[in-house]
Every structure is written in structure tokens, then in C-alpha cells.
Amino acid sequence: MTRGKLMTTARAWLDGTLRAICVALFALLVGLVAWQVFTRLVLDQPSAWSEEAARHTFVWVSLIGIAIAVGEKADVIMDFLVERLPLGLQRIADVIAHLATLAFVLYVMVFGGVQQSMLAWGQQNPLLPLTQGQLYLALPISGVLLTIYLLIHIVSTFSSRYRGHVGVAEDLEAASL
């Protein structure tokens, strides 16, 4: 297998795994809130832990989700200025934008996230069998995933196949739904 092919395979594997995690967590989320309604309305024994569990699941699904979104370049940008630039300058703008994102991700999500997790590692959650620190791991994990995707984007900016920002009029993605 060539290196390029290996990279593509690894990327596909990462994408697939993260999608699967997101889907599973999202399904769990629906289940948790439904369970909360069920225990209160039907069993008359409101569950104390389900709201807490739902909020944390939600944080995880959002943070894993943003990693995939950035991986797919789906995060919201306004490139009406950049797309008017010549290709060379677009390349520079893209690298700056990716580096800015990387700086935020590494400083706040990875560095800050790890430290915050460690700080709260022993802090019990009142309702779940996990510590706050374990729950906070979502942030650095998302940060590492974002770093991977951002590095891929930065490398591809320098590739000969770089096409720059194409001024797609409207259809961001051909109506996938």
C-alpha cells in the first residue's frame, strides 16, 4: 500500500468510527430523555440521573460532532472576501485560518481541557458513577481529533490539487436529504 493510500484508508476509518460514535451517542440521548419522561409520567418515579446523563451525553456528542464537522469543512465560515483573492493568496489565507483554529484547539481544548480534567479528576458526580474529570475528557479528546483534521487540511492546502475557494452559489452540498 502506498503512503497516500494508507492515509486515505486511515482517514476513512477515523471518519467512520467517529460517525458511528456520534450516531450511538445521539441515539442514547434520545433514549435518556424518553426514559426521563417515561419514569415521571408512567412510573411516577422520576429518574434523578437521566437529566444529568443526558446533559453529559449531549456535551460529548456535540464535541465529537464538531470534530467531524471541521473534518468535513462544514463549520460556518464567511469566505466572500477570500474567494475573490488569487489562488496563491487564498492558500495563505487558508493556512492562517487553519493555524488560528489549531491555536485555539491546542491552547483551550487540549492544554486547558487536560488540565481541567485533571483538576476535577477526583470530583464525584452526584448522580453518575463517573467523576467530573472523566466527563470533561470530551474536550481534550475533541481537541486531539480536531488537531488531526486540521493538520490534514493544512497539508492538503499545499498539495498540487488545491483548488481554493470555489464560489459555489448556493448549494453547499447537493441536497443530501
Binding site: Q45, A48, Q123
Partner: protein, 316 residues
Amino acid sequence: SCSAATGGDGEQPSTTFRVAFNQDIDHPQAQALVQLSDELEARTDGRLALELYTDETLGDQAATIEQVQSGTIDFAIVAGSLLENFETDFSVVNLPYLYESPEHQMSVLNDREIVGELYDTVLDDNIQMLTAYHGGVRNVYSSVGPVETPADLAGQKIRVIGSDTNVRMMELMGGVGTPMAQGEVYTAIQSGVLDGAENNELIYSTLSHDEIAPFYSRTEHLMMPDYLIASPAVWDGLAEEDRAVFEELLTASVDTELELFSTAVDEQTAAAEEAGAEFNDADVDAFREAVLPLHEERLTSELTQSIYDAIEAARG
């Protein structure tokens, strides 16, 4: 940890400590600290003062504890229940029907002979316990009708703080304890998702819950203390004489706060009555009897047992 600038006379640096608080500036605890800050400034020739960040603008109480731990802010006032997450033994001082009066509560919780060992357990977590403040007496309020006995709560969904202890407490009291975020409670009672909630008169009135659950019944089931906590680095970094002054003022502030709280309860009770609320007494003995099994369930360590015994012994 704090903003340092050159003091008025240009000799010693002045320090303003950041204090996080989750309610408004008119709250008795905030007012007690404002007063304390003025006195601290006067006694230290303007070198030390407090600056309050009210209304939860630095994050919820759990977040402000973490900021104290990391040293981003210097002090915070936090609910006693949150400290259980750091050391489970703190649950003993949050048990229902433990104190016979706010004065009893304050005397035992600020007596280091009784609680010193407990308070020291969170030093490892980078939390310095400074003072316990009275946080009100929690009573049940309902949209259905006045609650006098445990039987009156049968089938009523009452919002409680999200913990197993509080759900269990409400179960023993006869109702169905339903944890819910405070921000959702008003509409939940209004639409009937909840029948009521339990809290002190100040929260009841300022959150306008008197408008949708007009029956406030004095079950007097919980007196949950609030604590002023500090970053140990900040506290230890104070000069010895400054710390002595600070400690003296903190001790005095407990009584100030208790007085302010009592006045505020009267004011907010009047305001709630004006808004149409009806206050009634409940059969406190019956509720206390019903809830007592919880005490035995939760006294799981030697430390909690000894604190519990000391609190019992201090009853008037």
C-alpha cells in the same frame, strides 16, 4: 490571583479579591460581604478589599468552585451540597431536620471543634473553607393546596435539588422528588409538569414562583448552609496580621448575615403575600419523624457520626 495596584499613599500595594456569587447584590450574603469589604478596607488602610461578581456571571456555583481551585478567582460563595462531590462526608451537615434553628446551625458550622476536621478534608482539593453562612430554611410550596402533613404531599411532583439524598428525602416526606434545572421550574409548575418545589422564601419570591404555586407551607425540612471558600494560595499568602483582621471580620459577618437574612425573609414573605401567596404552618414533627430514617442511612463514617452527635448535643 487578583488585581494589584499601587495603593492610595503609594507605599503598599492594594489587593482586590474577586468573589463569585450566584445571586444578586441585594442578597443577604452579598450584602454581608459588601459590608465586610468596607470594614476590611478601613482596617487595612485601603490595602485589601473584595469585589463581588454577582448573578452567576462567572459561571454556576460548580464552575466557580473549580475557578477557586485553579486560582482564577479568589473566593466564592457556594452551596454546601456541592462540597459533597469532593468529600462525601459533607453530606452529614446537609441532612434534613438536623438543626433546630438558624442560630443553632451557624453556631455548630462555624465551630472548628465540631467541623474543623471535616473542613480540612477539602484542602487536598485546593479548597480553603472560610465561613459557613445561613442559606435559609427550605419549605415546600405547591400549586395544589396547603401542605400540612406528609399525606398532603401524596402524588405531588416536587422539584428537589438533583441528588439521590434529596429525592429520597421527598419520598419520605410523602411526595415525588423530581430533579430539574432551576431555570425550567417556573414553566414546569405553570404547565403542570411539576406540582411544586421546595426552597426558602427569598428564592420563592424572587423567582416569582409565588405566582404559580401560591401555597407555601412551612415544613422547615432543610437548612442547607452556604460557604465562603477561598483559594488556599490566596489565603495563605495574606500577611498574618491581615489574616487575623479578615478572620475577625468573617466571624462578625456570620451574625450580620443572619440578621440580614431574617429581615429579607420578612420582606420577601410580605412581597409574596402581596402577589397572592398563602403561607401556612405544617406539622413539622410528623415530617421530621418521617424523614429520620434518612439520618441513619447517611451516617456512614466515624467522622460523620461524631459531627452528627456534636450537632445533636448542641441543640438548645
